[in-house]
Symmetry: C2
Subunit: 225 residues, 2 copies
């Protein structure tokens, strides 16, 4: 089987404990490309939780804080967790000078990949963000990040990102709860699909992961949905 194209998002709600989750997280991690955590995870479980997650998960760990701050704040947000994460997601719209330039240099020095959001999965992304995609892609062209984030819910955004930055990995959220189907983003040119709630909300998360991996195999063989 080829490498999984699935990144599982883990954004727990208040009241959910980490310890009971770790066995299933560990099993899921052995069958996916990456595990993506964000502010809900950090706020609930802190660095100790991230350390436990890192031990439990053999997939790549992606810190999706949607960083969008000035340089020193972004660097100070990532520095304490640098040893536990493989990639970090930030917003392209904050620009380079005094922001992403320094973040990129810091991440490079730690061997951590950067992915830049150029479009998002919710409808409101079309209010401002998507109209600026030429500009956010120009920021990305200059920074040459490892990855871009563009949504499965609007495949046109994936296509424009793919055409402008052929070498970037495209990570695509919006599958499942947000409306797109597994494989939609890969067919549009994305490299990885990010799925969260529809996996954790299923009775058997591992089965859900395997189903999506199979759907991805079909998409990559060129089968239509």
């Amino acid at each position: 089987m080829r490498e999984s194209r699935l990144i599982v998002a883990l954004d727990p709600e208040r009241g959910v404990s980490l310890e009971p989750l770790l066995p299933i997280v560990s099993a899921v991690c052995s069958e996916v490309y990456g595990l993506k955590i964000g502010l809900p995870f950090m706020v609930l479980y802190g660095i100790q939780g991230l350390r436990s997650l890192r031990r439990a998960c053999r997939a790549r760990v992606i810190a999706d804080f949607k960083l969008a701050d000035v340089a020193h704040v972004m660097v100070r947000s990532v520095e304490p967790i640098a040893e536990f994460v493989d990639a970090v997601i930030a917003h392209a719209f904050v620009g380079r000078a005094g922001a992403l330039d320094e973040l990129k240099a810091f991440l490079d020095s730690k061997g951590i990949d950067l992915a830049l959001v150029v479009s998002m999965s919710h409808p409101g992304s079309s209010e401002i963000i998507d109209e600026n995609i030429e500009k956010t892609l120009a920021v990305a062209e200059a920074l040459k990040p490892w990855g871009l984030v563009a949504p499965a819910t609007r495949p046109a955004m994936i296509r424009v990102a793919r055409s402008r930055l052929p070498a970037a990995r495209i990570l695509s959220p919006g599958i499942g709860a947000q409306g797109a189907r597994p494989g939609d983003a890969l067919r549009a040119g994305a490299d990885y699909e990010i799925v969260g709630r529809s996996i954790w909300g299923s009775r058997d998360p591992l089965e859900a992961v395997r189903f999506i991996n199979l759907e991805h195999e079909r998409a990559l063989r060129g089968e239509l949905e």
Copy 2:
């Protein structure tokens, strides 16, 4: 003396412990309007740290995570800390549908104020964000947040925000380390100035706070810098 117009930003670096900071934080909090923490604080100290801070600080606590995600992730990021914060900062840039509309409704239900970033203090803000200020202000006009964030380093951004949303409190970063002087933003129409590194980096942070409060008094009396 009138109410302080100072919001102190606390963005600690890796390796700094919270406990030894609390006495000075407590003293500072008794002389300022608010204390602003962000991801560096949450990543380093977690909810336990925020609980300790809340006990130590009688000023308003503002969680400046620069939220810029889809609705459920933003809500899940704030829900665990709702009892410890008085206000939350998010980016207007992410738009309303599926994002800020739901965040605003959630915060309203908890009695927490929302402040929306419409411009930032770093030079890179002019690359994309500032060009969209009419659109981010339109988002703000529709949402009627308690506050807006616009920088002291570009007072024109404060003025346009003030003219479009006369009732909003304007919070202004960029004073000190980033180049603007205490009072600059108040003179341009802001309600509060956010200062961080130049306070914590001074030999006597409480003295630095008092100096800025006095500079603010001068600015509010109409004295020129």
